[in-house]
Assembly symmetry: C2
């Protein structure tokens, strides 16, 4: 028995049988396009008749050095006869010609990588026949010249330029813009010139025999599988090189055969809103590419209901059937040729985030998909859409992008430029203006301005710069490191090339894309309260194993986090409270004084602030756990910068040499000694590698009064909330632990103070004691650590830095980008958890810690906690929860559900 | 049967039998002192008769709240009777009184922590009897007043001051300096006053009954086990609190009973040289404390040979017997009471390093100990003694210590102060003067001065400062961070308090202790070629499993390392070659240029330097492996400092404002823009955490031409040496690997270049490719790493930094010292490998790497490789070798032998 190399679209069942009904193997045999055409056909959808030559035939052809396998061509010709029968047309017959397309179609989609030839079957005689049949000379010769051009380039390897040159010269001669405006006569002579081009460049006559055209086109498609473009694409997309491509030969249909012909595209549901209603565009008497090109105004699909009622109803039914079959919203191409509807293609439709959610929920409601599938249908990142204002595509189209920066905090912001935080705040408060704060970079002093502004734009800084962190924390849009911007704080102007933007002028920034626009763009605000979203998230919560908490430093953040579904606070960074302008001077006094009493006094002064913040967190999280991390950052972060002070000192020294009066000299000299004193203090705290220096628990050990104060504030707040009838669930966390003894010491200090406060208030508060795991040694000795820690929270940012010996700021501004571009690292380990290295350390830590304390609570705080791929890793590691910024909580909930569902299947 | 609470010194066999002959339990039962007295007695050594009350009795007494256990006192009295029989004296009998001492003696020595009462048995009548017997009123009353004073303070809890006040007032009255100069009459009235003190302060009469004295003294010794001092000591020394103390009651003997009595101390061999000859000091008619106090000039033991020939011969025999029994050199106390020799104590004698080696070797030769034991008898650190000049104790005694710094590089150096490296070099070369280079801190520019000088002294910097590293590398004594020093480079003077040392004046520094002296101290130079040492090291080499290599960057180092027994180079830091003054400008050009061609040119210019150095290493190590690490440090280390440049710029800016002529202004302005340009370049390379930044393999990836050049230099050198008939064994090492892909990339570059060079020369050189493991991720993924690495070398300095998240420089200047002082860390992890954390990571790496490549070579380079405790850990981890600075190689060889021998037993 000879091998079956060719399947007509009616023979899908046979193809299935040949591969034991395995649909994946059907796609492997026929290619994705061939299988889909067959499937539509089997569903009773009107697909133009055709056949598919198998990928096995392709492999056989290539293996034989370009020889068709035995029997292939005979089977193809037989299939062609079947097409003739079905269409009543005849290939190569001028009186009633069958024209076909010849397209590649591999198992996996490789868009644009392989070749296609349309309108096969035309020659001089057939073209004349077409003119007779259609009365449309332009159409016939245009089709003919397209065939010659495509055949010439694709099959015969002629470059496209000579063809295009001819077209251009005709357009010039006629003074028209498009080929559509050329006359039939023009096209007739163009055909002549095209044939001459083929003759000259390919040194053969353009074949006038239809079957010869098809044979050569088929070979060309086979050959294109091994083309350089295709090979490179497969390398990049990790597609095997031995799959081969199928070849689909399908009857050409035309939407440009007069008023009874139309062509269009349609979605089975609204791709923007998700509404369950057919939508689309079409054109009468036109070709598919005209709809896409937008050269003629299209008509909305609804109009077809009036124009071609029957067709519309038929189409509606088909759309419904395809949706039901593919169990998802479909994006379809159709053509009506002289009153007969043909579906040319169907595929899963692209959609907005909003539509994705609604469609998934409604498909589940309709019983087409399960709720599990509905949840998996929405990508976690799409949820971000519901949390931040967005620029519409139209709004963006009308404005100029003047710069690109890093998209560090999503959402759209528009406002007038303010170059300093005080002005930003004043404009917002007093003039009720919308403001975008623009700075070279931001510092803790700028936070009030960032909070007042709609968004922040900086010209320097990376993904972990101060601006980025603060913006994400507060869900404020931000674009940072837009290095094309030059900001002149003295002249109050920013410049990009020759564009100048002065303070008070409107700009817009898109924190989702990193784009910066001149002018005021309209924003739309989607809604997290969206009913479909709420239902989807409810289902997701039912499926996930992993808990989701939020990182929140302020009561307002905690309120928002809870609204977004956080099940607790996974990280409250107490030091953020220290950066508040009214507290910073006290903090600086605490750090710089050498006198113990003065230090104690400063520490005490901070107590009420901390207590108040903690009480707010406990109230917001009423009944849910709140992890409070004791002070973490190096102390110098609270002081003016060393270099800033050095510059100041230099200025003063220059000024003193230039001073003309004794008073002036004395005044500047006083300032110099003051600045010098601060510089000395800052200098004393300087470290060559602050990341690896005096910070975290090391501070708590060296300044136990600080730990004591923070613990007191926590317990006073907890007692206060308890006495109000609330429920405070504090979990106290030690940062940067590397040795169990650090933990033991801190726990001693903590327990003494906690007992003292609770005794004073006569209230018992249940609490837990635990530690960050952000130092490799802590992970390695988690068995020892777990003797004192009731919970572990992986600080994966620092853990990644230490495990890789890579400072994120330095690396992302430098060699890390090169590493990613060169593929040395498969992904940025600061964005997605490095499972092989950091993940191995985490797994080791969890398993060891559980040996000591089986019920130890484990989680991740830090940015990985909001990254879907990292969340899946955390789920696999068996952690109890992830914690992320409030705005990422919904994303994390959905990611956790995805992970749980995927690991089930 | 009642428990046996008391053993006479003759009953050691019974005590042994009671604990099944387990000598450890004998010491537990009788205490160390009691057991030793019994042992000496059994050996036939004349020990004054006595008995021991067991530790069990002590525990029983304490458990019963201060009641003697049943039968104890009766047994003690019976033993006392035995003593009376043996001595022919009678306790409490004025006519022939037995006097005894009562001392504590626990299982583990707790020197000075518990109590002792001497001369028990004296009262008014017995004292008169003693005077009659000895004719020595002074002796008798002095003994009596001592008993009352000791009894008062130890047993009755009277403070010592009232007793001392009385003595002081008598001395004043007599106008004498010591109590020995008081008359018998004085002492008689002092006894009266002492009894009055007891009566007044303790509110009881001093007990005149001898047995009552002994009973109360015994109770006091028991009680002292639980004294605060003793408890604290046991806590610190990790001694259990439930061991209890024994009580030793021993006959008093006196060396001050006339000319036939002497007292002295002796060593069985020379404690300084190790020579096998008795040495010691004694005094005639004196008490033991007189020998120690040095108030009277002592006589050398050899003189006893003439004075008391019989006694000397007896003592010589005893010393020999004790040495044979204890199998080590003994330190003995002896007394001759009226012609009768008594041995009061023997213990293992302290000795110099030189003596330790000679004694160990000779004891082995004599068959007293095995060669294994001989090797274990010498502490690895003692070997350092043979490598560096030393100040003698006498030399130090005559000079004032003016400051203390960190003892970063051992050995003694003396020379005139030079405050800059050029001057140091000139003085050494031209004036042949010995110089000590004194700098606030050192930089690569200072290395020629450090090499010329005898030693280096700095006022700042820590154990890993440049000065420390370079000094250790070259075995030059150095003291760094002597912060009491104030160095004025302009006035050319250093100041400590009100002492000034000007340039050209003599100072001496002791790199072994960190001391700084004014003046020129004599040094002695021990000899590594010492015959005993050579034999001992030979034995050690036979016992060890672990290989020992050296870290050496220069051929001269390699020669020295080989002389000291290195079996290869474990680390050649190629960048040290870049710091050489004639090469640095080229290196700076390579770093700062933006032009690729210029960079290539600079890289090429470095090639000959590197090739020459490598060839030198290969020649020195002929046939032994040489690990060459490709460039590692952050590039900015090769450039002037950012702050230095900023200061320069400030100065220039001030100068330009003050400039009076246009020429001057132009000149300074030009200098400003030049400095600014360099500052910009340096600024661009700055990183917030350089330790975690662009260094190691990251440089090799970003600047592949650098890797290529270094590889070429290595292979050209190897080919050159091969063609001379030598054998080069290069192992090429990639630093700071964190991901296997880095290694793969570098290996590709390397192989291409290596093949090219070998083809050019027509010579095949066998080589290995490997990597440092100094980043936690590399250790965690060692299975992947081992696919490309044929050897792994743990860079434990960096690995410790990353694993602890602790920058060594910052930590050692700050919180780490506090951590060590507070016991949060048991040891400095940069000095001794942290087995729990870093060690665990290393173990994981080794086991995983061996899964991929069973024969992978593993070692440690970095400072831990020279630390005995760390070497033992490396041995346990099963590494193949350790590598350390040439001067630590002998230490490492001995440590490795110790580890092997200890793990056997």
């Amino acid at each position: 028995m000879t091998t079956k190399w060719v399947y007509t679209l009616d023979e899908l069942d046979e193809a299935e049988a040949a591969v034991d009904g395995d649909w994946d193997r059907v796609r492997g045999l026929l290619g994705g396009k061939g299988a889909n055409l067959g499937e539509m056909n089997r569903l009773g959808v009107p697909v133009p008749p055709g056949f598919t030559i198998t990928t096995e035939a392709c492999n056989g052809y290539l293996a034989a050095g370009g020889q068709f396998p035995q029997g292939l061509w005979e089977q193809a010709l037989a299939a062609l006869r079947t097409m003739e029968e079905k269409t009543g047309k005849k290939f190569g017959d001028p009186s009633n010609p069958l024209l076909v397309s010849c397209r590649s179609g591999a198992k996996f989609s490789m868009p644009g990588m392989m070749d296609t030839v349309l309108d096969i079957g035309l020659n001089d005689q057939v073209t004349e026949g077409m003119i007779k049949l259609t009365g449309n000379e332009h159409f016939a010769f245009d089709s003919y010249r397209r065939l010659i051009q495509m055949f010439g380039t694709v099959v015969l390897g002629v470059r496209d330029e000579p063809f295009e040159d001819v077209l251009a010269s005709y357009r010039d001669r006629r003074g028209v813009r498009t080929d559509a405006d050329l006359t039939g006569d023009d096209l007739r002579s163009i055909v002549g010139e095209f044939k001459e081009i083929v003759r000259r460049h390919a040194r053969i006559e353009f074949p006038s025999d239809a079957e010869e055209q098809l044979r050569m086109a088929t070979q060309a498609v086979f050959d294109s599988w091994n083309g350089k473009r295709a090979r490179n694409y497969r390398d990049a997309a990790h597609i095997a090189h031995d799959l081969g491509t199928g070849v689909n030969v399908v009857t050409m249909v035309y939407g440009n055969l007069g008023e009874g012909s139309v062509t269009g595209v349609a979605m089975s549901r609204n791709a923007t809103t998700g509404e369950n209603a057919l939508e689309g565009d079409y054109l009468t008497n036109a070709q598919g590419e005209d709809v896409v090109a937008g050269t003629r105004p299209t008509k909305p699909l609804q109009q077809l209901k009036t124009e071609m009622r029957e067709i519309y109803i038929q189409f509606e039914g088909i759309a419904r059937r395809l949706e039901r079959h593919y169990r998802d919203m479909q994006d379809m191409e159709f053509t009506v040729e002289r009153g007969k509807l043909w579906i040319l293609q169907t595929r899963t439709g692209k959609r907005t985030a909003q539509a994705a959610v609604r469609i998934a929920v409604e498909l589940a409601d309709e019983g087409l998909i399960s709720r599990e599938e509905a949840v998996l249908r929405v990508e976690p990142e799409q949820i971000e859409f519901f949390l931040h204002p967005q620029f519409s595509r139209e709004a963006k189209a009308g404005h100029k992008v003047i710069a690109h920066g890093l998209n560090v905090s999503p959402g759209a912001a528009t406002g007038v430029v303010a170059f300093d935080p005080d002005l930003a705040e004043r404009w917002v408060k007093e003039s009720k203006r919308d403001v975008v704060l623009v700075r070279p970079e931001t510092k803790p002093d700028d936070v009030h301005g960032m909070l007042a502004a709609k968004g922040t734009l900086t010209s320097s800084g990376g993904r972990t710069s101060h601006a980025a962190l603060v913006a994400r924390q507060f869900g404020k849009p931000a674009v940072v490191g837009a290095s094309e911007l030059s900001i002149d704080l003295v002249a109050r102007v920013m410049t990009v090339g020759d564009i100048e933007v002065h303070e008070g002028e409107w700009i817009s920034i898109d924190g989702t894309t990193g784009e910066v626009f001149i002018g005021k763009l309209d924003t739309v605000v989607p809604d997290m309260d969206d009913e479909s979203l709420a239902r989807l998230m409810g289902w997701a919560d039912g499926f996930r194993r992993l808990g989701v908490r939020a990182n929140a430093d302020y009561p307002a953040d905690a309120v928002r986090a809870r609204k977004y579904g956080a099940e607790g606070i996974g990280l409250c960074r107490t030091e953020h409270m220290f950066f508040e302008p009214e507290r910073l001077p006290t903090v600086q006094r605490m750090i710089t004084t050498q006198i113990l009493a003065e230090r104690r006094e400063a520490v005490e002064a901070l107590l009420p602030f901390q207590r108040e913040d903690f009480a707010g967190l406990f109230r917001a999280m009423d009944g849910l756990p709140v992890i409070i991390r004791l002070i973490d950052p190096p102390l110098h972060e609270f002081l003016p910068g060393f270099e800033e002070l050095t510059r100041e000192l230099t200025d003063l020294q220059i000024r003193v040499t230039n001073a003309r009066t004794l008073e002036k000299v004395e005044e500047i000299t006083a300032k110099i000694s003051e600045t010098q004193a601060m510089l000395d203090k800052v200098g004393a705290l300087r470290e060559s590698n602050p990341m690896l220096g005096l910070r975290g628990v090391r501070l708590g050990i060296l300044i136990p009064e600080l730990t004591r104060m923070q613990v007191r504030a926590i317990f006073e707040a907890a007692c206060e909330v308890t006495s109000e009838g609330g429920k405070a669930v504090p979990e106290i966390m030690i940062p940067l632990t590397s040795h169990v003894n650090e933990l033991r010491r801190q726990r001693e200090v903590l327990e003494v103070e906690a007992r003292k406060v609770m005794a004073e208030r006569g209230i018992e508060v249940k609490y837990q004691f635990g530690t960050m795991i952000e130092v490799p040694r802590a992970a390695l000795t988690a068995d020892q650590i777990a003797e004192y820690a009731e919970f572990l929270s992986f600080g994966t940012n620092d853990l990644t830095q230490m495990t890789f010996a890579m400072s994120r700021d330095d690396a992302e501004a430098g060699f890390l980008m090169r590493y990613l571009a060169d593929g040395i690292l498969p992904a940025n380990p600061f964005a997605t958890l490095d499972e092989d290295g950091v993940g191995k350390l985490m797994r080791l830590a969890v398993s060891q810690a559980r040996k000591t304390r089986p019920d130890i609570e484990t989680g991740v705080c830090g940015e990985h906690g909001g990254d879907p791929a990292s969340i899946a890793i955390c789920d696999r590691l068996g952690l109890d929860y992830v914690s992320c910024s409030p705005y990422r909580v919904p994303v994390a909930r959905l990611s956790a559900a995805h992970s749980a569902l995927r690991s089930k299947s």
